[in-house]
Structure formats: structure tokens, C-alpha cells
């Protein structure tokens, strides 16, 4: 379907990832919180948080990477995209284990699915993206070099997307909705706000403002052959709609009007998912789609290889590496989540097929090497519970 979908998918998921990581890094920085689970959670200082955020944003907006991303192409498979975000989350000194990474990815994807589904017009996906971009700029406002990198991409987004007609945005939206189809993971922040119901479906209101450019339903106008209005009839629209709000700004600076895509997390509103609530039915469907042979797998992995090859990677094993962030309240919960996670929801290792292209092979090999991070870690870091202390000692 739309070959212009990937940049929006990447930037919005990346934006959600940054919100969640920022919230976790700040939460772990609170002394009272730290005191409660002093043995399990590293005390993050403000400087570390900034460093992680800066490193990830620098990687995310890497010039070569974005050049590839902005080329017209089909969406990556779910697995390939997950791999990209695994790498991105580990672009700095922060480490996430499998369960935390799974949870982070579930939260990111459900948040963006919600935004895609609820955005009033297909074109408003761009305003959602701009809300994410605005927030990313704010994260790096004190670092001019990264800020200019982000601004460049911002400019590119505006130039590439604002001229597109409404039908093209609908095609982008439909492509994204196929990507997110059958994902019904329940997210506590959505359940609390009553925007998601217990079956994992998002609530679609039949009240409130209609989209910009749409009239409140309820009026029939009949015209004569020469264009005169003959009659006006009202009908019951079955909802409680109000007139449209003003249109959000599609410029680099401005009021987006929609709140979709802004940061919904804060230290007092932690991130949570309810994996147990995922209906069995839906995971079966997900599985079916995932196991369908993907004809693009080879090209996709070649591309991935090029992209990843272009990224500057902070090798683990640096003196200051090894901060681990936990997306769960305690380590025990995290471990439990990993064990209890349904198989269908796990993201396995991608089988990278060898190709004839030697250069690609070399690049792939390099990436494969970079993926096996666990092997590089010191033995003391491998056993659960001791690892953080050991890393702390290493500082």
C-alpha cells in the first residue's frame, strides 16, 4: 500500500519510546522511590537521563539512517521493526532486558495504534507526528548539535507530507492500521482514562467535535435543477457532536490543536500493561499474519543491514555502560512477565539469510556481532540480581 508510511511509523513509535524511557529514567531518580527498592534499581542522576535521551535521539535522527528511511518502500515486517527499536533502545548506556523491552514495545505500539485510530482525519496523523517531533525537540533543546539534526528531519517531514492529498493520507492510515491489526494489549493508562475497554478495543466516542472540514451530521438539503435550495430537513444523528475545532498548524512551529501524540506519561502516571487480558483469539490471528511468508524479507534485511551499518553504536563494555532500566515495578515482576508472556507475543530472532552480495554479508556479520551483546558482558553481570550491583561497582 502506501510507500510513504515507514518514516511516520518510525518517528511516532520512536517518540512514544522516548516518552516512556524519559518517564522511567525520571521515576528511578526519585530518592523516595529509590529507597523502597534500593537493591534493585540504580539511582539515575539527571545527567545520565540526559545522556541516554541524547544518545537515542542522535541515533534516531542519524542522517544516513533517515536517508534510507525516507526512500519510498513497503513497511518492514513486525519482526524487523522490532529489531530496529531493540537496537535504538540500546544506543546508549542504558540496558533493558527482554521482558522490559517487550513491555516497552507493547506500550509504544498500542499508544501509536490508539493515535492512528482516533485521529479525526487521516491527515491529522501528521499533527500527531508533529506533536512527537515537538516533544523530541524539547528533549534536546540544550544540545544545539542534536537539535539541528532533528530540525532537518522536521523540515523534510513538512516538505514531503504537507502537500499530499487527503486520499494519500487515508492510504497511509490504512497501511498503518493493517500493521497494527489484531493487537489488543491492554494498557493501564488507557483503561484508567476509559479510552480502552477491558477487551482491548479502543473506545470510539460518538460525541464531541467533528473533524476539521466536516459538518455535524443531521442536515439534508434538497436542490432544484437550477441549484436553488428547495428544502432543509433535520435528522437525528444518534450522537452528540459539536462543531469542528480550528485546524492544527502544519508548520514547523505552531499549535497542533490535537493532544494525540503528546506525552501522556508522568512520574505520577506510570506505564503498565496487562498482558493476561490479551484475548486468545486475537493472538492467534497475529500469529497467522506473522508466519505468512514475507516475499520482501531478503530485501528488507539487506536494507536493515545498510541502515544498521550506518549507525554509530556505543559498544557495551565501556567503563560507564551497564545502567539497566526496568519497565516493571520490581525485578521479580519483570521476570514473571517474561515467563508468562504468551509465545505468540514473543519476538524471536530474525533468521538472516546469506546473500551473494559479499559487502552485504560483511555488513550483516557486523550487525550480527553487534546484536550478541550479552556475550560481551562481564560474567559478573550475567546472574540476575547481582548484575546491577556489579555494574555499579564497575563505575
Amino acid at each position: 500500500m502506501s510507500s510513504r508510511t515507514l518514516p511516520l511509523l518510525f518517528i511516532n513509535l520512536g517518540g512514544e519510546m522516548l516518552y516512556i524511557l524519559d518517564q522511567r529514567l525520571r521515576a528511578q531518580n526519585i530518592p523516595a522511590d529509590k529507597a523502597k527498592k534500593v537493591s534493585t534499581v540504580a539511582a539515575w542522576i539527571e545527567e545520565d537521563r540526559k545522556r541516554v535521551m541524547n544518545d537515542i535521539i542522535t541515533t534516531m535522527f542519524n542522517k544516513k539512517f533517515l536517508e534510507e528511511l525516507f526512500k519510498p518502500q513497503e513497511l518492514y515486517s513486525k519482526k524487523a521493526l522490532r529489531t530496529v527499536f531493540d537496537r535504538l533502545a540500546h544506543a546508549s548506556i542504558m540496558r533493558l532486558n527482554q521482558a522490559s523491552m517487550d513491555k516497552l514495545y507493547d506500550l509504544m505500539t498500542m499508544a501509536f495504534k490508539y493515535q492512528v485510530l482516533l485521529c479525526p482525519r487521516p491527515k491529522d496523523i501528521l499533527l500527531v507526528s508533529f506533536n512527537h517531533m515537538d516533544a523530541i525537540k524539547d528533549f534536546v533543546k540544550d544540545t544545539p548539535s542534536i537539535l539541528s539534526q532533528v530540525d532537518e528531519t522536521y523540515q523534510q517531514l513538512v516538505e514531503m507530507y504537507t502537500p499530499l492529498p487527503s486520499g494519500e493520507f487515508q492510504l497511509i492510515r490504512q497501511t498503518l492500521l493493517i500493521f497494527f491489526q489484531d493487537m489488543h494489549i491492554r494498557v493501564s493508562i488507557f483503561l484508567k482514562d476509559k479510552v480502552q475497554s477491558s477487551n482491548g478495543r479502543f473506545v470510539l466516542p460518538t460525541c464531541g467535535p467533528v473533524p476539521h472540514g466536516t459538518q455535524v451530521p443531521g442536515l439534508i438539503r434538497i436542490f432544484s435543477c437550477n441549484g436553488e435550495e428547495l428544502t432543509r430537513l433535520q435528522f437525528n444523528n444518534g450522537g452528540n457532536y459539536t462543531a469542528a475545532l480550528r485546524e492544527g498548524s502544519f508548520e514547523i512551529f505552531g499549535d497542533r490543536v490535537t493532544k494525540l501524540g503528546t506525552n501522556m506519561y508522568s512520574v505520577s502516571r506510570p506505564v503498565e500493561t496487562h498482558m493476561s487480558g490479551t484475548s486468545k483469539n486475537s493472538t492467534q490471528h497475529t500469529k497467522q499474519v506473522n508466519t505468512a511468508p514475507n516475499p520482501l524479507a531478503k530485501e528488507e534485511l539487506n536494507l536493515l543491514a545498510r541502515l544498521m551499518g550506518g549507525l554509530e553504536v556505543q559498544k557495551p563494555g565501556n567503563a560507564d555502560s551497564g545502567f539497566r532500566v526496568n519497565l516493571f515495578a520490581t525485578d521479580e515482576e519483570e521476570e514473571e512477565a517474561l515467563i508468562s508472556r504468551p509465545d505468540e507475543l514473543s519476538y524471536g530472532v530474525i533468521n538472516i539469510q546469506a546473500t551473494k552480495d559479499q559487502q552485504t554479508n560483511a555488513e550483516l556479520a557486523k550487525i550480527m556481532g553487534e546484536f550478541s551483546e550479552s556475550g560481551d558482558q562481564s560474567p559478573s553481570a550475567s546472574s540476575k540480581g547481582d548484575d546491577l550491583l556489579a555494574m555499579m561497582d564497575g563505575l
Binding site: M1, S3, Q170, Q181, G213, I220, H285, P295
Partner: protein, 336 residues
């Protein structure tokens, strides 16, 4: 006016695509076929009228001879011609035509796809059987392909390619009243809302172009010479096909309309949108003044569902069926 009946379960959930539900009644066998597209699969259910038997079939969007290749499907639709019914499936790669029960693929037409993806996506969308022996299919380039269908067998030929649209075709429909008096018997719609009105024949003849207003026309129908068009603004417009005169404009839905359908015998109109609502309307023709009127009859809300397909199950509009994004069922409503 309508009440909900037992739903039909489908094997996969529906994708968010325009007009993503198709219904074909097989009266001699007291069966109804339903099709719903899910990503690269067409889910097909054959339901017996007594509600006791359901059989399922899944059609993959496979190119012949390329075993591993799959592509996303844009639309599936039944085409009813004088001598045979066919199921047409359009995707990013091409057009497949099956016998109406989905058992045999009788024809494959590949789209010209560039080696590396271009900004303009390539796909086929918009399907309609026209008159006795034609099936028309829209393409993302705006071209319309006309296929000549023999009364049996697989000797299907591409008879014409028409280039009147400059944007992606969204939907098309043939005259559904069965009236021979109507000169126009096909209407096509595109992504900026332009409508083309055609007369079918060995050479298709363009009768009229009705300009759009920069908003996609996602679903279109043709009934007794009147074009009924649904738009991304949630509006429905009624035009006289051959003159382009606007007879009525309805602020019908709060979100994009995804599907329209007409019950030709009763003049009932069904509209469904992303706003989770299905509405039933009544169209009346006044032959003396050559005008058409529309009245609202009924609303059904499918809670928390962006509706992507809605179709009447019979020519009188006695029953209709609905499905929506992420929904693995077809919900049926019957007149009380």
C-alpha cells in the same frame, strides 16, 4: 426498524479498506456468500439461509507461479453478469478472478510494478460488473481496465484501458435498478472526488464528468440514473448522472464514509463510516420533475468499531450486514 441477528464469525478480522464487505445471494441453493479482506487474505463464508450451516474458505493473494509472493489485497467484490457470477480480488500485484464460490481462479492480470517502490503506490481498487459481459477494475494510476468476459471458460480478455481519471480510482458501480431506460450504466470515482459517468459497450463512452472538491469519494452507487456518492467529509451527494445536477447534499456522518449500498427494489440506501454508525435512508424518484429526494430512516451504532463494510443482503433491503476494522465477525440486522 431493524434488529440485530446472530453474527457470522470469520476466520480473520477485517482490514480498514473501503467497501470491505461483499454479499452474493445464491437463491437456488438458499445460500449467501460473504467476503471480507484481511491483509493478504480474502475470508469467504457461505451461510445457509436457515442459519445452520457456515462453510469457510480463504483466498490468498498469490501470483500464479511465484509460490512465495504475497501482497496486500485492496478489495474483493462479486460481479454479477448475465450468464455467470465471478469473484474479483484486487491487490498490489494484480487482479484475480475466481468462480463465485472461490473454488477456481479463472483469470490473472498482473499490474505493471516498478522494480523499486515509487512514491506513487501501485494497486488495483474499484470493481464492478457492467451490463452483460464486462468487468471493470480501477487502478491507482487512475486508469480503468475493461475486461470482456465470455459466458463460460477462462478466455477473458482486456478489451479497453480508459484514462479519464488522473488520481487513484477508489470505487465504481454499475446501474443497479436493472432499468434499460438509463443511458448511463457505470460511474467511477477517484481520490479527489471526481466522478466519471459511462455508457458501456464494445467501446465505453464517457457521458459526463462531475468535478470533485479535493476530497476522496470512497464509495459510489448508481440507481435509476442518480449517482449516490459518499465522501471523506462524511457527506453524501446525489447527482443526476448524465447532467451532473446536484439534487441533494447530506451531512451524513462525523467521519470518513467507507461504504454505501442500495437495495434497488425498495430504494433503500445504506451508509457506513468510521464514526461507528450505519444509517439507512430512503431514496424516492419523482419522474415528472426528474428529481430525487432522500429521507433518513434508521441509525445503528456498532460500538467502538470503525465500520469498513456494509451491504444489504437482498434487493428489498430486508436485511443488511456490517463489519469493521479489527472485527472478526459479520453483524447482521433484519427488519422487525
Amino acid at each position: 426498524m431493524y434488529h440485530k441477528e446472530k453474527s457470522i464469525q470469520i476466520k480473520n478480522s477485517a482490514s480498514a479498506l473501503y467497501n470491505n464487505l461483499c454479499v452474493l445471494r445464491i437463491a437456488p441453493r438458499r445460500l449467501t456468500y460473504f467476503t471480507v479482506v484481511h491483509a493478504n487474505v480474502v475470508n469467504m463464508v457461505s451461510a445457509s439461509w436457515d442459519g445452520l450451516n457456515y462453510s469457510h474458505r480463504q483466498l490468498q493473494s498469490k501470483e500464479p507461479n511465484v509460490a512465495t509472493s504475497t501482497s496486500l489485497i485492496m478489495q474483493a467484490a462479486f460481479c454479477v453478469l448475465t450468464s455467470r457470477d465471478l469473484l474479483v480480488v484486487t491487490s498490489q500485484k494484480g487482479i484475480q478472478m475466481y468462480e463465485s464460490d472461490g473454488s477456481i481462479m479463472v483469470y490473472w492480470h498482473a499490474l505493471e510494478t516498478p522494480e523499486t517502490p515509487t512514491e506513487q503506490a501501485v494497486f488495483a481498487r474499484g470493481i464492478s460488473g457492467v451490463w452483460e459481459n464486462y468487468i471493470c477494475v480501477g487502478v491507482s494510476s487512475g486508469a480503468m481496465l475493461v475486461f470482456d468476459i465470455p459466458s463460460k471458460g477462462s478466455n477473458i480478455t482486456l478489451s479497453e484501458v480508459l484514462h479519464e481519471h488522473s488520481e487513484s480510482i477508489t470505487d465504481m458501480a454499475s446501474e443497479c435498478s436493472g432499468s434499460q431506460e438509463c443511458i448511463a450504466n457505470l460511474v467511477t470515482a477517484d481520490d479527489v472526488g471526481n466522478l466519471c459517468v459511462w455508457k458501456s459497450g464494445e467501446e465505453f463512452q464517457l457521458l459526463n464528468k462531475i468535478p470533485g472538491f479535493d476530497m476522496s469519494c470512497s464509495s459510489v452507487k448508481l440507481w435509476k440514473g442518480t449517482v449516490v456518492a459518499g465522501y471523506g467529509t462524511g457527506q453524501i451527494r446525489l447527482y443526476e448522472a448524465v447532467t451532473g445536477i446536484l439534487h441533494a447534499e447530506v451531512n451524513a456522518h462525523a467521519r470518513w464514509i467507507y461504504s454505501l449500498d442500495i437495495a434497488p427494489f425498495s430504494g433503500l440506501l445504506l451508509s457506513a463510516a468510521e464514526d461507528s454508525l450505519v444509517r439507512v435512508w430512503h431514496l424516492t424518484m419523482t419522474p415528472e420533475t426528474n428529481s430525487v429526494e432522500i429521507a433518513h430512516l434508521h441509525n445503528e451504532c456498532v460500538t467502538d468499531t470503525q465500520i469498513c463494510g456494509a451491504k444489504f443482503c437482498d434487493g428489498d433491503g430486508y436485511a443488511f450486514a456490517v463489519t469493521g476494522y479489527d472485527l472478526s465477525e459479520i453483524i447482521r440486522y433484519v427488519q422487525s
